[in-house]
């Protein structure tokens, strides 16, 4: 190897040393979070974040052979339960209400449901998933087909909020005579 090659090689190594030095040698503060986005996605959800959530119902209900039969749309809301006697809101007890319109795929039939009088029994949070158990009253209107009673009391349901983004409403099938099919009702937050 000639002198020129040595010089070039040494200059290249010095340049590389500068890059390595630039990468590692600085006043870095390790105590600062490096990614708010990550911490946000990994941070467990707390009860207060579940309160006051609301959103829309966006779901399909299939018939027995798995073919979409009904389009479910509507709104839902979670609020802190208010004690009427003291006019105070609970920090852990919640109230869930929802209105759902079921329209047949061919657009010829339509009726409405309302979930009301939610009786909260239990809420658990696992990381970013909140599971709320309770019973509800299901009020049905414009039902010309007599498939379901106008009002059903104490219908058990499990509400699952995932990542504060989506909602899954599992209604006890037997209590509603499988009116909502074999799958949960899905929706979005916001």
């Amino acid at each position: 190897m000639n002198l020129l090659s040595y010089i070039v090689f040494v200059v290249a190594l010095l340049g590389l040393a500068l890059v390595v030095n630039g990468t590692f040698n600085h006043n870095y503060d390790n105590s600062r979070p490096l990614a708010q986005g990550v911490t946000e996605q990994q941070r467990p959800v707390n009860t207060s974040e579940i309160m006051n959530l609301k959103g829309s119902i966006v779901s399909l209900q299939n018939d027995g052979s798995g073919v979409p039969e009904w389009i479910l749309s509507g709104r839902w809301q979670i609020e802190p339960k208010t004690d009427n006697s003291t006019n105070t809101t609970s920090s852990s007890e919640i109230k869930f209400t929802s209105t759902i319109t079921m329209t047949s795929i061919d657009g010829t039939k339509s009726h409405k449901h309302r979930f009301t009088d939610f009786m909260h029994s239990n809420m658990s949070i696992q990381n970013r998933t909140a599971i709320i158990k309770g019973t509800n009253s299901l009020v049905t209107s414009e039902d010309d087909f007599g498939l379901i009673d106008k009002r059903l009391e104490n219908v058990p349901m499990i509400i699952t909020i995932m990542n504060l983004k989506t909602i899954k409403i599992d209604v006890d099938k037997n209590s509603v005579k499988q009116h909502f099919g074999n799958f949960p009702i899905y929706g979005k937050v916001g």
Binding site: N2, L16, L34
Partner: protein, 534 residues
């Protein structure tokens, strides 16, 4: 005239053209891209001794999205001229423009260096005639304006081209029969192994700037293999720096105990969902719309080379195109790597056409095709680079800086939150925060879509544009948003401007470039008002 002088005169033609197309009116064209603000902010952090890895607490929340050489190089080059201190920066319009001018001139100089390197690559491989045409095309074809922006692709390009050039200079000493020549070469030329290592170092630095540069490994690796006499060992030597230098990035994350974050953001970057407007097909379409001539000539030229069993241009472009096809989230400027290959392919085709014409007609006529393409490209590029599309950008920026500085009371507002669209919040951050040392908070509705960050300062400065207004008019159950709306309603307008980026936009080429130039970066157009509540 000696051969050497003639050669240098020939080199000067593309270099002068390149200097014109990349250094003329750098403030006016092209529109400032949101990423320019990001890269300048990171360079400022390096200059302030904060290192190349920014924290989400003080900077952009999407950390570990790119390796570090981009900001290290920018900071190093800018510090050589004493930037930003040498400009005595303040919040005036002229100062804001000067602060943008210097890095854009640096990018222009890099593009001129690229032109020089491309000339040498093409000359080494195909001869001087093709080198002149290829480098002139690189210098003045309309797509070349993309090099005027502060982008990672433009920063890494000289390193990539140097790596390619060095690989073409690797010699197989075993096959040099003339021992006297070998002795002479060994005295005045750089040793083959050193060249191989240098080529690897330069490609390693290019990948350490932006990961997709790894798609150039097949090209340079193949050149090293064949130019070194099909030596696998030499390819192995070359691969060492190519692989080790980019590993500094994950190594850094391991050393600071954040390898999980590194993995998260690398996956985020590689798995970004393509939108309707950001797809591989739309990137190719925009490439064509921005420069139909080089697209047609380049593809035809590369096909012509392939038919002639010269696979260099094909190996140059195919790995990146295949990678982009699978990545899907691709924009037109991500295809910058293939532009030099398109120029070389075009030059080879034009050379062939020229020779055919020369055979049947006069030699002077044979140059007419190439010259008319060059003349057309020069006119189109001139039409574009003489536009001033950033006038209102600098005015808005200066107003934000002045309002944070609160020059009326001759003091810096230390407790200001800037709220606006993603584009303005981040593009206006690096100068105010790091150059003018006016620390302020910011709220970006694009990244904080549900307005989870509360306003924690008494003073709020709004950059009000159509995108921002849309973001705060969304129906979101958020007390923070309610407060922001309240503050917004109580704020008063201190200045308003009309964004002029697309004012010359027409469907006719080349002015269709203007909307493509700002596509997919959330650049608000229309009225931009500055409002404050203090």
């Amino acid at each position: 005239m000696s051969k050497k002088v003639k050669r240098w005169l020939l080199i000067m033609i593309p270099l002068l053209l390149s200097a014109y197309s990349h250094l003329w009116n750098p403030l006016g064209f092209p529109a400032i891209h949101i990423d320019e603000g990001h890269y300048m902010r990171r360079a400022m952090l390096v200059l302030e001794g904060m290192g190349p890895q920014e924290s989400a607490a003080t900077g952009y929340p999407r950390t570990y999205d790119h390796p570090y050489f981009g900001q290290l190089f920018l900071a190093g080059a800018l510090s050589l001229v004493g930037y930003p201190g040498i400009l005595n920066p303040d919040s005036s319009l002229s100062s804001i423009q000067e602060l943008h001018l210097v890095p854009r001139i640096l990018m222009g100089i890099l593009a001129v260096i690229d032109t020089f390197l491309l000339f040498n690559i093409a000359e080494r491989r195909y001869g001087t005639a093709i080198a002149v045409t290829a480098s002139i095309l690189f210098a003045i074809m309309p797509f070349t304006w993309v090099f005027r922006r502060i982008s990672l692709e433009a920063i890494l390009m000289p390193f990539l081209l140097t790596s390619i050039l060095l690989s073409l200079h690797v010699r197989d000493s075993k096959n040099i029969q003339n021992k006297a020549l070998l002795k002479l070469e060994s005295k005045y030329q750089i040793n083959g192994n050193v060249l191989i290592l240098l080529s690897g170092i330069f490609l390693g630095l290019a990948i350490y700037t932006k990961i997709p540069a790894f798609t150039m490994i097949p090209l340079v690796g193949t050149l090293i293999f064949f130019y070194s006499g099909k030596s696998v060992k030499k390819v192995g030597i070359w691969l060492v720096p190519v692989l080790i230098i980019p590993l500094l990035w994950p190594l850094y994350s391991v050393l600071v105990g954040q390898s999980d974050l590194w993995q998260h953001w690398v996956l985020w970057q590689s798995e970004r969902d393509p939108s309707e407007t950001i797809t591989f097909v739309s990137a190719l379409t925009n490439f064509f719309k921005l420069d139909p001539l080089i697209t047609i000539l380049g593809i035809s030229g590369i096909a012509f080379c392939t038919i002639r069993k010269d696979f260099l241009p094909l190996i140059w472009i195919s790995p990146l195109l295949i990678f982009s096809y699978f990545i899907e989230w691709v924009q037109y400027f991500h295809l910058l790597y293939i532009f030099p290959a398109m120029c070389i392919g075009s030059a080879i085709l034009l050379d062939k056409v020229q020779k055919i014409i020369a055979r049947h007609f006069h030699r002077i006529i044979s140059y007419s095709v190439t010259l008319s393409i060059i003349a057309t490209a020069l006119v189109i590029t001139t039409m574009l680079i003489s536009l001033n599309v950033n006038t209102s950008y600098y005015q808005v920026y200066a107003t934000i800086a002045q309002e944070i500085a609160d020059t009326s009371n001759n003091k810096v507002q230390s407790n200001v939150t800037v709220i606006g669209s993603h584009f303005w919040v981040w593009d206006s951050y690096w100068i105010t925060q790091y150059v003018l040392d006016m620390p302020h908070e910011l709220i970006d509705p694009h990244l904080d879509r549900r307005f989870k960050e509360p306003v924690e300062t008494n003073n709020v400065l709004f950059v009000d544009d159509p995108i921002f207004l849309k973001s705060i008019s969304r129906k979101i159950n958020s007390e923070n948003l309610d407060k922001i709306k309240d503050l917004y309603n109580k704020s008063t307008e201190v200045a308003s401007f009309t964004d002029n980026v697309t004012s010359r936009e027409t469907n006719n080429y080349p002015y269709n470039t203007l909307s493509i130039m700002i596509s997919n970066e959330g650049h608000p157009t229309g009225k931009v008002a500055i409002r404050k509540n203090y």
